[in-house]
């Protein structure tokens, strides 16, 4: 596996009234060419901030305070995306890295038809491209996301939520990006529409081998699409590895808790258990392991929640890391 993006020590800070809030804390993660990487985390865990960090689109008052994002292009070049100016970076956005943001239903301009969205996007990146060329490309992609051609003439309000989501996925694919970042692409959709979107994404991935980064809070949806998974908690990656390993035998107590907190259709209901307590306040982080207050090992006194020892990741096996220094104990659960 060849890496396509290497995120190194990425930290994103927000200056707020009561201090500095670090939404992403020294995130290092490697994304391989052609894989689907899942990032899972609850609200406030920093996953959306991480996505905007990769695109260098962190909104004020947020700033990227440290880190590198190395992008390995097809020609074998390596570029640090964060060292580029906004103007230089804009050559990469959409043409190399595209994204579908959260609440994509509201991302379309209500006074433009879907066709205008395609034209506007194409012209913003290459003002010389012919109208017919864009439209024939748009028709091709619309077929890929299983929308009829006539949808191109519709305004956003004429589409249902699922259709809008598909139109936006089509739009993101217009300039043949190598990497597609999807932030909660199925949230707020019905199960049948959700199934449909996942099915489309998987087929697009199989056909074109596009690299995808899939951010979600929904544990059950992620198991059915991603190859590798990163788990985020309070701004840190707490576990990262192959989805089969992480799901079957989590090596961090938070992942273990999450896997046992989601009710499904076939399991034993009595085995489901909530994680007690609430996530920590990022402005008042405890002087211990960030998960300690909700962790069964800390609560039962088997762990002291030593902060220094959670500052690094421990390799469980090759390509599988955990932030818990008692990961051997967690594996036994």
């Amino acid at each position: 596996m060849k890496p396509i993006i290497e995120v190194k020590n990425l930290s994103i800070d927000f200056k707020v009234k009561n201090g500095i809030l670090r939404a992403c804390d020294k995130i290092s993660i490697t994304i391989n060419d052609g894989e689907i990487l899942g990032i899972i985390g609850e609200s406030g865990s920093g996953k959306s901030t991480f996505a905007s960090g990769i695109l260098n689109l962190v909104a004020n008052p947020g700033v990227i305070s440290e880190g590198q994002i190395i992008y390995h292009t097809k020609d074998g070049e390596s570029v640090d995306l964060l060292s580029l100016s906004q103007r230089e970076y804009s050559k990469y956005r959409w043409t190399h890295l595209a994204s579908v943001f959260q609440a994509a239903q509201n991302a379309l301009n209500p006074v433009l038809t879907i066709k205008d969205h395609f034209l506007e996007t194409a012209w913003a990146h290459d003002s010389k491209i012919k109208r017919e060329e864009v439209i024939s490309k748009a028709k091709k992609i619309m077929k890929q996301v299983r929308l009829e051609e006539r949808v191109l003439d519709y305004y956003p309000h004429q589409l249902s939520g699922g259709m809008k989501q598909r139109a936006i996925i089509a739009l993101s694919l217009l300039l043949d990006p190598e990497i597609l970042i999807l932030d909660e692409p199925t949230t707020a959709l019905d199960v049948i529409t959700q199934w449909y979107i996942i099915d489309i994404l998987r087929k697009i991935h199989n056909e074109s081998g596009i690299t995808m980064i899939f951010l979600t809070h929904d544990v059950s949806i992620i198991g059915s699409i991603v190859d590798r998974i990163g788990v985020m908690y309070a701004g840190q990656v707490v576990e990262c590895g192959d989805v089969e390993d992480v799901f079957k035998n989590p090596s961090h107590p938070y992942t273990y808790g999450l896997m046992h907190a989601v009710p499904s259709l076939h399991d034993d209901i009595s085995k489901r258990k909530a994680i007690s307590g609430y996530p920590p306040d990022l402005l008042n982080l405890p002087d211990r392991c960030r998960f300690s207050e909700r962790c069964m090992f800390y609560i039962s006194g088997r762990c002291q929640g030593d902060k220094e020892r959670t500052d690094k990741l421990y390799p469980v096996k090759e390509g599988w890391y955990s932030r818990c220094y008692l990961w051997r104990e967690v594996l036994k659960l």
């Binding site: 609850e42 199960v191 059950s220 009710p263």
Partner: protein, 323 residues
Amino acid sequence: MNVMEIKNIGMSFENRVNKMEKIRAVVDFNLSIGEGEIIAVVGESGCGKTTLGKVIVGIYEPTEGEVLYKGKNVKELKGREYKDYRLGVQMVHQDSYAALNPNRTIFQSLSLPLLQNRIAKNKSQALDILNGFFNEVGLNPPEQFLEKYPHQLSGGQRQRILLARALSVKPRLIVADEPVSMVDVSLRIALLDLMSRMNKKHNISFVYITHDLGTARYIANSGRIVVMYLGRMAECNQIQKAIENPRHPYFKALLAAVPEADPDHRRDYSAELPLRSLDMPDIVNQPTGCKFHPRCPLCSEICEREEPKLRTIDGGLVACHHV
């Protein structure tokens, strides 16, 4: 005795642009809710499940049929009896932020119904009552939450407050409309557990409205499930039985679309859905005959012509010609 009985109710809304058009959100619906029973109502968005919930609570007056509370028609209730119904049937909303007044502290918001309905004589008594319920829903210590404004609390905490608010007037039935869909995954089960605990402890009936079949199965484990499609009941059965052996083709498709977290089962997910079309038909121009026939894999000539009636099959109700 049944807490609530819904008899042949229909709820149509007028289209403001075209006065001739009627939007029939709920059609000819029957349901009885027993004492201490948990009923899960599932369906896609636009199927009328929230409208049904609002009819039960009395926010909407049904355009057809009648709603009986403790055996009496709600429309004819007067004075004390009507007040008894309004207090006895409470609702927990999906968006906990929108459901609380942002300009008032939690205590101001929650003490008002207690004082208004003379459940508490004065503020200090209201405080005592609320302290009790806050302890019960796991908001400890209560003082920390009562003096706060809604924006200072997390989604999970606000949802607990809504539940405490509903419980504080001692209801017999709570309609919970997607109460956990905006709550973090790790906190969802705790809220569902809390609801089933209240169900057992106070013998309160619950109508749990959701599109998430996993949580429906979790909370209504021993209760019933109602599957809605375009305002009609498609299937109704004991939840375990229904999930193990779905009858209606729509319910089968819904079950097949539920994602599976376990990577061992991931191949089962999304091979193909047993549906002919994935889009819901227009609610204004509904299809003829069986409303599901344009999407149904079993569709035949009779389905286009005749709307199927609910039939009792294996202890449950199913509306399909081909079962």
